[in-house]
């Protein structure tokens, strides 16, 4: 049997395939974050409601559960598309390495099963189960959700640090699946992504209530709805910055070209400055603000450490520098801005036990949700575009993995249309859900009319 080496695809088809993957992954990743972290927020609200008897929390839980049901459905189908696309777009990758990274995907399948099963129970059995068992039925969703992220991202980490297999003449002859799954990039990448999921969901949900408060609805329901998710996200932000530093160190030691692209660094050198901003023109970073010794210090804890530049590798082995550089800057900047916002609330709360009185705080919080999503996307761009031109780092090029069948461009166009409609419909339905008062009554949710608030 011939090895699955593909005939060449055209440049346009390769670009279409890459953009299609980027679009569908970039879309799914937001939904996945919400799917993983919203159950935790909802459970937290339900638990507080149960403990304190405060109906505001119970109504919040009810509303978030409804939103979570819709978001989970959209996340599930957009995730399914990805598993199709693995084969439709990248048969060269899957044909050879499918077995190497199959284990985490199989485990993710189990985790996703658990999520879907308990989500069905949690959402639909609200009035069939007593309060405590009902809350407990939500716990597996959270655990399985976090496990899902771990498994999926460990497969991605393998693409960054491929280990655990022996290849001979393009064929895999031996595999150590557990070693492939627990490759060196797995710990920093998975932790970074799990925290990102909770930050995105926390800031996004909080921003909805910040907007409502800006419109004058400052009752307890909205305050609680803001504080609970915001606190979760704000507490995790400094942790995330620490983990981000760990991840960056990992890249510095293991993917030097990616780090060089993140920093727009061309010549290798010692005592390298940190570049803020700037644009790469003709193989040189211009107009950047440089902090002396900054990069050497940050990357290797030594102001005189040597940092490899892009000049060390031929041009066809370099990722698109401007995209990676800017994505990295945006992610870091937003991370620190979110940290500042959390500190703002923390200090004010510590002194006065209330939200900051200035509207600027609410305005900033209203933006925090979108900002967190932008940081998420930017971070993912750093990881994935920074790996180019390799689909499997230094093992297989993206151009070798792509489906050589003609016409991928049309699939991409079709997908764009579908995603456009899907985005509009999702936003529309979520807005309707947020506004509907009282909470629309589904057949399984009769007792919701008994809630006294709002």
């Amino acid at each position: 049997m011939s090895g699955p080496v593909a005939a060449a695809a055209t440049e346009a088809d390769l670009l279409a395939a890459r953009t299609q993957m980027a679009l569908s992954l970039g879309w799914h990743i937001v939904l996945a974050c919400l799917g993983v972290a919203m159950p935790a927020l909802t459970l937290l609200a339900e638990w507080r409601g149960h403990r304190t008897g405060d109906d505001h929390y119970r109504l919040l839980a009810r509303r978030w559960a409804r939103a979570m049901g819709v978001l989970f459905a959209v996340g599930a189908v957009s995730g399914t598309i990805l598993s199709f696309e693995m084969g439709l777009l990248w048969p060269g990758l899957m044909g050879t390495y499918g077995e190497v990274i199959g284990l985490p995907f199989a485990l993710e399948g189990v985790a996703f099963f658990i999520e879907a099963i308990f989500l069905g129970i949690y959402l639909y059995a609200w009035d069939r189960l007593p309060p405590v068992p009902h809350m407990l039925s939500g716990v597996p969703i959270v655990i399985a959700g976090v496990a899902s992220v771990f498994f999926i991202v460990s497969a991605n980490a393998w693409m960054q640090q491929p280990t655990g297999f022996t290849a001979e003449g393009g064929r895999i002859v031996a595999v150590e699946p557990w070693r492939a799954m627990f490759n060196p990039a797995t710990p920093p990448q998975t932790v970074h992504m799990i925290l990102a999921a909770f930050m995105v969901a926390g800031f996004l949900v909080a921003s909805v209530y910040a907007v409502a408060m800006l419109r004058g609805r400052r009752d307890r329901y909205h305050q609680v709805g803001f504080l609970l998710p915001f606190t979760v996200a704000a507490v995790l932000t400094p942790v995330q910055i620490g983990v981000g530093d760990w991840a960056a160190h990992f890249v510095a030691s293991n993917q030097e070209v990616k780090l060089a692209a993140m920093e727009g660094l061309y010549p290798t050198g010692r005592g390298v400055p940190l570049h803020l901003g700037g644009v790469v023109i003709d193989g040189e970073l211009r107009y950047s603000l440089d902090i002396p010794y900054g990069l050497s210090l940050l990357a290797h804890w030594d102001p005189n450490a040597e940092v490899t530049g892009l000049n060390e590798v031929p041009e066809q082995d370099r990722p698109p520098v401007n995209i990676v550089h800017w994505a990295f800057q945006i992610m870091v900047a937003i991370g620190f801005a979110l940290l500042a916002l959390g500190i703002w609330l923390g200090v004010y709360w510590w002194r006065r036990r209330e939200l900051p009185r200035t509207r600027w705080f609410l305005r900033a919080s209203a933006c925090a949700g979108v900002a967190a999503v932008i940081a998420l996307e930017a971070g993912w761009v750093v990881t994935e575009v920074g790996r180019q031109p390799w689909i499997v780092y230094q093992v297989m090029r993206t151009s070798e993995a792509v489906n050589p069948a003609p016409g991928l461009v049309w699939g991409f166009v079709l997908l764009c249309v579908v995603y456009l409609v899907l985005t509009v419909a999702t936003v529309y339905v979520m807005r309707r859900l947020a506004r509907a008062t009282p909470v629309p009554i589904a057949p399984q949710e009769r007792d919701v009319t008994e809630y006294k608030v709002v």
């Binding site: 049997m1 080496v5 593909a6 899957m94 499918g98 099963i117 069905g120 489906n403 399984q444």
Partner: protein, 337 residues
């Protein structure tokens, strides 16, 4: 039994579960499409929604399970199928997005025009998605997916007699299973009149599937003679007989309104068809490619199967809890509106 065979069996179990559960959810969408105008179709639509709401996501995961097992267990076969059949598979992917999202959106919307729009999207994609999945099955069964990447014809590989009849059979089977399941759901909810409607639809659906299956054999005879021979005289024969007997029994049971037992026979009829195909084609996965040649290394198979076995310890009780929670006696969905 060697690991490769176990893996293939697990894959086929996953496929069977997807057809029996996920397929029925598609079928629910087909009946939704045929339920008639907004007022007249309301009771049927609400029964469909009520029945599949809590379980469709779980049922859908079987498909992901099948995909993952395929690329892990027989990676080159997965690559060959996905690259040659990327047109119908892309359409399947779109259908899955449209269907799942529209179903969730319809549940969350309150205004009639939205419910109608999302409902129509849900119903229409429920019809086309199994059709394209069926054409994919037909392409593989008739040996039109050669090994290697994108080596098959991008169009005739899935636009051919076997694929088209498989597509029709997939839609028919889905609709038939759904009608059978919904009959019992309606009866349990005390909605005798709805149960009668779905009983009638089940009888018609079953007859159509029977005719399509017979037609399928004729098509196979001309279009995929090897598979035909194995199915009618070789290893696949007992399963084919099982399928026919169970199918005929189902029609009788439906006629006599034995709604619980007919679930079993209807499922058996479908299982017979699926496993008959599998056995008839075994051990060749693609033309000239046997299971042995295509299978991943034993270490991979062992760890994946081990992980799935452990996973099953968590999954089976959970699945049991899910289905038993929503299949216990309850009042009718319509009564609560």
């Amino acid at each position: 039994m060697p690991l490769q065979e176990i893996l293939l069996a697990v894959l086929w179990v996953g496929l069977t579960a997807y057809v029996l559960f996920g397929g029925a959810d598609f079928g629910g969408g087909v009946w939704d499409l045929l339920a008639g105008g907004a007022e007249r179709g309301r009771p049927q639509r609400s029964l469909v929604e009520h029945s599949i709401g809590p379980v469709w996501e779980t049922n859908h995961v079987w498909l992901i399970f099948v995909l993952v097992i395929t690329w892990t267990g027989v990676p080159s076969v997965f690559a060959a199928i996905a690259s040659t059949l990327y047109i119908p598979l892309t359409l399947v992917a779109m259908g899955i997005i449209a269907r799942g999202a529209a179903f969730a959106f319809r549940k969350a919307s309150t205004e009639p025009w939205q419910q109608r729009l999302f409902g129509a999207t849900f119903a229409f994609s429920s019809l086309v998605t199994p059709f394209f999945l069926g054409t994919v099955a037909g392409a593989i069964a008739s040996g039109r997916v050669p090994p290697g990447i994108a080596k098959g014809d991008l169009v005739t590989s899935w636009v051919n007699p076997t694929s088209l009849i498989s597509g029709a059979l997939a839609v028919g089977t889905a609709a038939y299973l759904a009608a059978v399941y919904l009959t019992r759901d309606a009866e349990r909810g005390g909605r005798t009149e709805l149960a009668e409607q779905f009983r009638r639809r089940g009888l018609i659906g079953g007859a159509v599937v029977g005719v399509l299956s017979a037609g399928g054999l004729v098509v196979l005879h001309a279009d995929a003679p090897r598979l035909f021979t194995e199915l009618t005289t070789g290893r696949g024969l007992p399963l084919l007989v099982l399928s026919v007997v169970a199918g005929v029994a189902s029609l009788a049971l439906l006629w006599w309104r034995v709604y619980l037992a007919v679930r079993v026979t209807a499922a058996l009829a479908v299982v017979g068809l699926l496993w008959g195909w599998g056995l008839a084609q075994y051990p060749e996965l693609l033309p000239g490619v046997s299971l042995r040649q295509a299978a991943a290394t034993d270490t991979v198979l062992a760890s994946v199967l081990g992980a799935l076995a452990l996973g099953a310890l968590l999954l089976l009780p959970s699945l049991w809890w899910l289905y038993s929670t929503f299949q216990r006696g309850e009042e009718s969905p319509a009564a609560s509106e």
